[in-house]
């Protein structure tokens, strides 16, 4: 039995709720008039609202306890990742290895290089743990115990089975375990399966909800209460006759997408600002360079192994530059041959001027340092460049097809080895933020003495930051530079990866817009 006062209180509460109802909520609520139990999809059929609107309205109604969830089924779907699709075609790495062994009774690990190193080590690890294969001296892989071969087959059957996506509940516990061990998570391991979870909930109208429907019938629909204050209402003054629906301000807002800077570009700009604040001037240049500036001017002999096809890119066309400034060409050629005026013995071989004209893709930023020197800058001077460089490495987690390097020079009368160390120390602390650094001897064809700079990383230990040295007289003399020059260079990608907490260099050049939107620095 209700007392009148209770009823009034209840009515009052319902009234307040009613005031806050959004027109979308009203639509969804009325859908429950004929049928007390509905899924979201069923309600959408009645209301004709979009999925987004329905989801929002149902969410709001649920928090207000106007409707309630009575059943929630989570459907977990498994499908193949890009990698998985590849395996569907070729077989999993383990299977590929097995096939190779079957063909010749054994296979040498070296000959399994069609697999990526990570894939290979995982697959071998798996096969060994199952006792299927053993590895003998010289990296020869042979069968050990074939009885577990069915495990490999099983995984491959599973890949085929789920190629179109499948509900995880329809799989055995054992299969589920296999999948869980090999599914891909964003930014993490590269698994062959992808798991998506989808929830299907069933809703029922509550007692209060039913009363609300009744009141809605008696009263005017709150569609007439004001949802959005409009310019017209203000201008006309009609807002005075209107009632404003109250908002539930605790609800989470719909998502918006915005513009965003790339954290790697921001990192590069920070480095640029650091350098300019240290008194360095920025220079830049061409991606397609001549062998002359990329190597000859840096005193790399034309027979140097790092000038071959596996260390530098060549182009089909254009192949050669029209010409090289003859005063530099002659002086550099002489320096290579017999030291020229540099006080060196030279490399003692016949310099090929045609080869000097051949185009390559800039393989290091040091090119821009020698090009700067060739413009006779007045000492003292400090110059730097942030340059994309290109070397023919296979692309993997640590090698991108092109990469950023920062290189620079300092020229002054009183430059010496200790000043070089002082500069590097500053880089270690200012640019890399290292608390501890060390120097080790290094070799570059264009500097002597040469140094490598290492910094202590809190987690990774000692890491190499870059190389530096004092340009050899064989580099500076032919360009007409009379003062000593410090030259230094560092790879920026690895530094950026550490700063941004990224483990795969390819993520710096990601093509996944959602990933780009979420990337933070």
């Amino acid at each position: 039995m209700f007392k009148t006062s209770d009823i009034i209180r209840l009515m009052k509460k319902l009234d307040e709720i009613l005031k806050e109802l959004h027109p979308l909520e009203v639509k969804v609520l009325l859908a429950f008039k004929k049928k007390e139990i509905l899924t979201m999809n069923e309600s959408m059929d009645i209301t004709k609202l979009s999925e987004g609107d329905s989801r929002r309205a149902i969410g709001w109604l649920t928090t207000k306890e106007i409707i309630e969830i009575i059943k929630q089924d989570t459907k977990t779907l498994v499908h193949l990742s890009e990698l998985g699709k590849k395996y569907l075609e070729k077989g999993t790495p383990s299977k590929q290895i097995i096939e190779k062994i079957k063909a010749k009774d054994s296979v040498i690990i070296k000959n399994l290089d069609f697999l990526e190193p990570l894939e290979l080590s995982e697959a071998i690890g798996f096969l060994k743990s199952k006792g299927i294969v053993k590895i003998e001296k010289g990296g020869v892989v042979t069968f050990n115990d074939k009885s577990n071969l069915k495990d490999v087959e099983h995984i491959n059957e599973l890949v085929t089975k789920i190629q179109d996506g499948i509900n995880i509940n329809s799989l055995t516990t054992e299969d589920r375990k296999i999948i869980e061990e090999r599914h891909r998570e964003r930014g993490k391991s590269r698994g062959m399966f992808e798991i998506t979870r989808k929830t299907v909930a069933t809703f029922k109208i509550t007692k209060e909800g039913k009363q609300l429907i009744d009141i809605l019938h008696d009263k005017k629909l709150p569609e007439e209460s004001i949802s959005q204050l409009t310019s017209e209402l203000i201008k006309s003054g009609n807002w005075r006759e209107k009632e404003f629906r109250e908002y539930n301000i605790e609800l989470s807002p719909p998502r918006i997408v915005t513009g965003k800077a790339h954290p790697y570009q921001e990192f590069l700009n920070q480095v640029r600002n650091k350098l300019t604040s240290m008194g360095f001037c920025e220079v830049s240049g061409e991606i397609v360079e001549t062998e002359f500036w990329n190597m000859d001017a840096l005193f790399m002999p034309q027979f140097h192994p790092a000038r071959e096809v596996h260390d530098v890119y060549f182009m089909k066309s254009p192949k050669c530059a029209k010409e090289i400034d003859s005063k530099f060409l002659t002086a550099v050629a002489q320096t290579h041959q017999n030291g020229g005026l540099s006080g060196s013995k030279g490399w003692g071989y016949k310099f090929d001027s045609n080869r000097a004209k051949r185009f390559v893709l800039r393989s290091h930023g040091t090119v821009l340092s020698v090009r700067t020197l060739a413009k006779y800058p007045e000492p003292p001077g400090k110059y730097f460049t942030i340059a994309r460089c290109f070397r023919p490495d296979d692309v993997d987690a640590t090698h991108a097809p092109d990469f950023f390097q920062i290189d620079g020079i300092v020229l002054a009368n009183n430059i010496n080895f200790r000043a070089l160390l002082g500069l590097l120390k500053l880089f270690g602390t200012e640019i890399a933020g290292a608390s501890e650094i060390k120097f080790t001897p290094a070799y570059f064809p264009f500097t002597e003495p040469s140094v490598e700079l290492h910094a202590k990383h809190p987690k990774l230990g000692w890491i190499e930051l870059g190389g530096a040295g004092i340009f050899r007289p064989e580099v500076t003399t032919p360009l007409g530079v009379k003062v000593p020059v410090i030259a230094w260079g560092m790879g920026l990608d690895r530094m950026a990866m550490m700063a941004l907490g990224i483990h795969d260099i390819r993520d710096l050049f990601s093509r996944d817009l959602e990933f780009l939107r979420k990337m933070t620095d």
Partner: protein, 564 residues
């Protein structure tokens, strides 16, 4: 960079001390080496100096780490054994050198190290035996003088080492060796176009080897216990060859062998004369003033300190007032300039021993000119709600040519790409952005992205300028030309250029919905011209990229706007 395998035990026995891993790593700084792999006793060491063949052996590394003073080899050497060189070799493989190493029986570890050194010196330094090939023999079986001859392929036959196991004792003539023997097949390229081949036999006609291919089984099988070794090097570059001989002799000497030089008698002139004694005493001497050390390194030094450290690095040093007369050890030919000697001094003293000095020169820093406009453009685009992208410059011809429905003539192709997917240099940023869209169909719409980056244009057969461009793309269910046009207009206003659009035909775009952006004025100059394009991507192109939403893009050259 070359890497070599050494046995830790062997290294320690040469150093006469054992080293912890940390000590070893520190010591390896003296040879610019780094441990790449440790597997029980085997160490793989990477050496960064490509100019020091003397370090391509465990003996060489140990020698440098030991840092002991070395005695200058006495000049007068008694020479008992000769190698006589045939005149016809001049145009085939002209040079040879050799020596005997005796006194102690060769042991297993020396032999293993020797094989590793032989391989590195001939394959890495000697360019796959083309310039350097090394042979080692049991000297007991050889009757001197040895004859280095040029012979016709069918005139000699012998049992080679490492013969096919089935016919291991089968004699082969020289052309059979080149065609059947594994080493013959591997190295026959060196003797291409030769009518006669190099051949080494002793005074009694016993076969030593067929250089640079293979030794004979009779004299060239070296096993542990042999007391007298004959070592020979053939090649095409005499100075390199003499260096290798010196290195090998030094290695044997370090293990306690006594070295007996050979006299090489040429019938033709060489840069080092007609009669050459090997190992050869190079007299590479430099006169260096003390100030040169002090200037380059930036501190005051004591004479004795300089002398001591250089001697530890293998040099012979005489002090003459303020000058040092410095002779390089005979196993090194890499000293081209005094700076090389000064670096060796610094390495021996230890880089840690030099206190870093502050940079004193004051200079004014600034970023490159174009950064100003790049910075402004980025801010405007981000403010317009665009997400910034960075793409690689190397990309696949599929994305830049066939997917764009463009002819291949305008793009620069690499001659030696590592993979087809990185085979061209991008000449536009638009295909980079389309690839982002192609991979982002699951990302919440609308999509608005931009990239500022470098592209390389193919202008003629001799130039390939780099340009900085901006490209922007919108993709959503109603994306169109006019929407993006508004953004371009907005950008032009803030960058301070005025433009008009001129309709063009372009196979990547819908006809009638593509135009050139023609600049009338820029804030910096009165330069006029086409600086880019704006248009709606053709559905055929969208299909090629498997994109399901309409797309509009514009691209313009910031390099152009930056001109004065």
């Amino acid at each position: 960079m070359p890497t070599i395998s050494v046995s830790k035990k062997d290294l320690e026995s040469l150093l006469q001390t054992s080293l912890s891993l940390e000590e070893l790593e520190k010591s390896l700084q003296l040879v610019k080496g780094e441990i790449k792999l440790i597997e029980k006793d085997a160490l793989r060491i990477e050496l960064s100096d490509t100019n020091r063949p003397d370090l391509l052996s465990v003996e060489g590394i140990a020698r440098q780490i030991r840092r002991e003073k070395r005695n200058k080899i006495i000049k007068k050497q008694e020479v008992k054994n000769e190698i006589i060189v045939d005149s016809e070799l001049k145009n085939i493989r002209p040079y040879i050198g050799g020596f005997l190493a005796t006194g102690i029986p060769i042991d297993e570890s020396t032999l293993l190290a020797l094989i590793e050194t032989q391989e590195k010196l001939s394959d890495v330094f000697g360019k796959r035996r083309k310039n350097i090939a090394i042979g080692v023999y049991d000297a007991e079986k050889i009757e001197f003088p040895v004859h280095y001859r040029a012979v016709t392929p069918e005139s000699r036959k012998f049992i080679p080492l490492h013969n096919d196991p089935v016919n291991s004792d089968c004699e082969l003539n020289l052309s059979e060796i080149l065609n059947k023997h594994p080493k013959g097949k591997e190295y026959k390229y060196i003797l291409q176009n030769c009518k006669k081949f190099p051949f080494l036999e002793d005074n009694e006609g016993k076969v030593l080897s067929f250089p640079p291919i293979i030794n004979s089984k009779l004299t060239g099988e070296v096993t542990p216990g042999i007391q007298n070794i004959f070592c020979e090097v053939t090649g095409k570059n005499l100075s390199q060859l003499l260096l290798v001989i010196n290195i090998l002799a030094e290695n044997f000497k370090d293990r306690g062998f006594k070295i007996y030089p050979c006299l090489i008698k040429y019938s033709y002139e060489t840069d080092f004369g007609k009669d050459i004694i090997t190992p050869y005493q190079f007299e590479d001497t430099s006169l260096v003033h003390q100030q040169k050390f002090e200037h380059l390194l930036g501190l005051k030094l004591e004479k004795e300190e300089i002398k001591e450290h250089l001697e530890q690095m293998g040099y012979f040093v005489e002090i003459d007032k303020d000058n040092f007369k410095i002779t390089s050890p005979s196993y090194r030919k890499d000293i081209m300039h005094t700076v090389d000697i000064i670096e060796d001094f610094a390495i021996s003293r230890g880089y840690d021993s030099f206190s870093p000095a502050p940079l004193e020169e004051f200079t004014i820093g600034k970023s490159r000119k174009i950064e100003k406009i790049i910075h402004k453009t980025r801010e405007i685009m981000i403010g317009c709600g665009f997400v910034e992208v960075i793409s690689n410059i190397l990309d696949s011809p599929t994305n830049f040519v066939s997917n764009m429905e463009l002819p291949p003539s305008n793009i620069i192709e690499l001659e030696n790409p590592v993979a087809e997917s990185y085979g061209v240099l991008r000449n536009s940023i638009i295909p980079s952005l389309l690839q982002v869209e192609a991979q982002s169909s699951k990302a919440t719409y609308p999509h608005q992205i931009f990239e500022i980056g470098e592209v390389v244009c193919k202008t003629d057969s001799q130039t390939a300028p780099t340009l900085v461009k901006l490209a922007a793309m919108i993709a959503h269910s109603n994306a169109n030309f006019s929407e993006l046009h508004s953004f371009l207009d907005h950008l032009a206003y803030y960058l301070g250029f005025s433009y008009k659009l001129k309709k063009i035909n372009h196979p990547s775009f819908i006809k009638g919905r593509i135009g050139n952006i023609e600049v009338n004025t820029t804030p910096k100059s009165s330069l006029q011209g086409e600086i880019g394009i704006l248009g709606e991507i053709h559905p055929k192109v969208l299909e090629n990229f498997k994109i399901k939403y309409p797309i509009s893009v514009f691209e313009l050259s910031l390099s152009f706007l930056n001109q004065e």
